[in-house]
Subunit: 323 residues, 2 copies
Amino acid sequence: MNTTVEQLRREVELQLNRIGFSETPARLYDPVRYMLALGGKRMRPVLVLLANRMFGGNEQQAMPAALAVEVFHNFTLLHDDIMDKAPLRRGQATVHEKWNPDIAILSGDAMFVKSCQLMMASPSAAMPAVMNLFLQTALEVCEGQQLDMDFEHSAEVRIEEYLDMIRLKTAVLLGASLGIGAALAGASAEATGHVYDFGVNLGVAFQLQDDILDVYGDADKFGKQVGGDILANKKTFLLLTALEKAEGTLRDQLLYWLQEPASDEKVQGVKAVYAGLKVREAALTKMESLYQAALDHLEALPLSAEQTQPLRELAAMLMAREN
Amino acid sequence: MNTTVEQLRREVELQLNRIGFSETPARLYDPVRYMLALGGKRMRPVLVLLANRMFGGNEQQAMPAALAVEVFHNFTLLHDDIMDKAPLRRGQATVHEKWNPDIAILSGDAMFVKSCQLMMASPSAAMPAVMNLFLQTALEVCEGQQLDMDFEHSAEVRIEEYLDMIRLKTAVLLGASLGIGAALAGASAEATGHVYDFGVNLGVAFQLQDDILDVYGDADKFGKQVGGDILANKKTFLLLTALEKAEGTLRDQLLYWLQEPASDEKVQGVKAVYAGLKVREAALTKMESLYQAALDHLEALPLSAEQTQPLRELAAMLMAREN
């Protein structure tokens, strides 16, 4: 593990614990504390602080914004868990299970308010810009979540639509975290745009890697059930690519397996179709081109290789999961 | 109807229709448009504009903030309707009924983001102050809603706790609307505090009047089923006062009726207890003292009687419903 990242993560964890949520009403704020205590990689606040440091910013002044994006991210997880009817989050009961859906809606709302309050505590010179980027991103995250729900029920989803959905649902918040960190350090609009685009491209690449690992990952290292997406007919980059490419016998086989119930045979059957269509290769190619696009945005910054090194290391680390 | 208020209301209605919500994803933004088109008195944005005008502000510059509080208010109604399982809102299907609860959660979230974006469009000199007041108020509204839900299940609620709940759930947003309008016009912190307190006191008084009208109102004019609170054992100011005052036979009678199912006899029985305890008089006294406290805050402003007249007229109009 990168020592800079690990040090920033510890600092974020410490400060997250110090956010003063009111004790009452307990049923509003206990779920907020519970959600934030479930842990996680704290990737987004670390990105705020890394970008801020890269442009010579003051870490203490960037901390409220870093906490804001983490609280916001947890708000989206809380509300998404209700919509997904997820029983567990990081191995613990989700808020709507441990309390109830009404509590989960309302404490999520309170988390979003709190995230805005934290962002507003940014130094006044940069506050309007970072707040506007934050809110624009928040709206896009809502749009991405809606598209994700829409896609579950749509007969046909184009690959471009899928890429746009994952960009909105997950990647823009990574880009915004970096952009906010840069803007707080006084980076120019152009430089802020480049770190934002670095984050968005990296975020989409990371999500494609997730799609790939779900099918081809090492069960021990991936941490989720391998093949889960295939079992659920989830419209991933792989399945959408297969549906676009498949013709003749391979198409018949794919459509056959899609209407079959979940089973090991189904996973093997779909993987055989993917192999015939070189779907994994197509996904890796797309992922690598996004990764390269991300790095190109770092190259475009008026910074030395030494200054951009922590972000390049982080990107390399993210893309080096087992696949 | 006061012509100033009516004119401002029409202007707000016009501008609400011009807020540019994206066309896609349709299932995210259609519910937002639907909710805002259901109508309503547009009381909160009118309060922003009235306070702004009272301090000599520029109406165009206050309009985004006025729209922000109305969009925020509708966001709270949308999420509250899910929690209350309300089938109808202004005689139309609620969003969670017309679409589904997931759509209602997410489009509510998007409305809240949009309300923040509108507030951020306020002139930069006053923006941080009005945004911070807005967010503090938003958090308090969440707290009020949680307390309201908590009270449904609590055996004993003190009158002071009830008053605090309605202050948070409904009155602070009226106060904040006025305070934001004043701050945007460059009013001092002290003056802003007084119009805020005027609104909060008026808001609590208005809610007490609602409790009174639910029992003693004219069915034709009240617009809701008279006696509904009694039928539902709702913990209103009247019931809590009765529970606090009742002793001996009257207490036995009250407890008897509370465990009886809904019926006309129950309404008459509880009203008889209220009469014996002079509960209506206690509520009217409290309401009038809050109304007077509100007016005292207007008196404390460094403004002429002519300048504060529109707000005094509005307050008188609000308190002159049939009771």
